[in-house]
């Protein structure tokens, strides 16, 4: 059994940074087109941080997936926690900002408005779903990172 706590603080930093970027209004919205890659990149960054601080150790596939999934869970938590005050404090303003945009197509405008003005129930329901989704994407990111960027640090077991 792999203890995910051994990947702290790397997953907190990598996953947290990815989650924060996803949650930041305007910047996150501009980069919205590639954010499942963002969660995976956060997992890759977490792996880089962990490998850099554990030079004598290598990772198995299962460990890489656990590290990635942990990073994804942190990203989900950070995104959700940051999005709550953003939605509560600035949701209406951001929704109004996007509603008045003439550049955005209707579907994108409607979705950005929905992103910042969900009901409390939907926000609560999104947390476990987001955690599961980001966890899966993080696990995929961790695996792909180990097989591509950090091949030399792969434990053959």
């Amino acid at each position: 059994m792999i203890d995910p706590r051994r990947f702290l603080p790397a997953v907190a930093i990598g996953g947290g940074a990815a989650g924060a970027v996803i949650a930041i209004p305007l910047l996150g919205d501009a980069l919205r087109c590639c954010f499942c890659i963002g969660v995976m990149a956060g997992a890759g960054a977490s792996m880089k941080l962990w490998l850099d601080t554990h030079r004598a150790e290598n990772l198995t596939h299962a460990e890489a997936m656990t590290l990635g999934a942990s990073s994804g869970l942190v990203s989900a938590a950070v995104t959700w926690v940051l999005s709550v005050p953003v939605r509560m404090g600035f949701g209406e303003g951001l929704a109004g900002f996007y509603a008045s945009s003439t550049v955005l197509p209707d579907v994108a405008r409607a979705n950005l408005q929905a992103l910042y003005t969900p009901s409390v129930g939907m926000m609560i329901m999104a947390l476990p779903l987001q955690a599961a989704l980001f966890g899966v994407m993080g696990a995929v990111g961790g695996f792909v990172a180990l097989e591509t960027a950090f091949k030399a640090r792969k434990d053959a077991a």
Binding site: R6, F35, C36, M65, L129, V140, E147, A157
Partner: protein
Amino acid sequence: MRGLRALAALVAALPWVAASSLAPSWFREGVGVTFLPLCHHWVGRVLVVGGAPMCVCSRCAGVYAGLAAGFALSAPLATGTYRRLLAVAVALAAVDVVTQDLGVHAPWHPARLATGALLGWTMAAWMVRETLRARWSPRSPASPRCG
């Protein structure tokens, strides 16, 4: 292991499950809010299923469908073959993205779905394959381990 694979497949299939006409509206809305931070939803790039736009664009829909399929069903390919397949999948998706955004062709859902699905399936199937391989083969005693 099977439970985790099934869970991962189910999570990856969420956009398609939510797009089904059987999905209740509260579930559809909750899944929509979940995927909102992860996709641009540009018009013309989102599939319309049953009269309603999906919660992700067609390429993301392909990636998620591919991931779900890969978690459910992997192929007994060698590691090198999966690595080459991933490179091909990334290259095909990149070519489609670049040619589409340069205006060479209009966004075409079948191509977006197919390139996304190949990418998603390759990653998930490779993950499953390596995990199964590790379970079947005993750990080498010479493998250096610390901590």
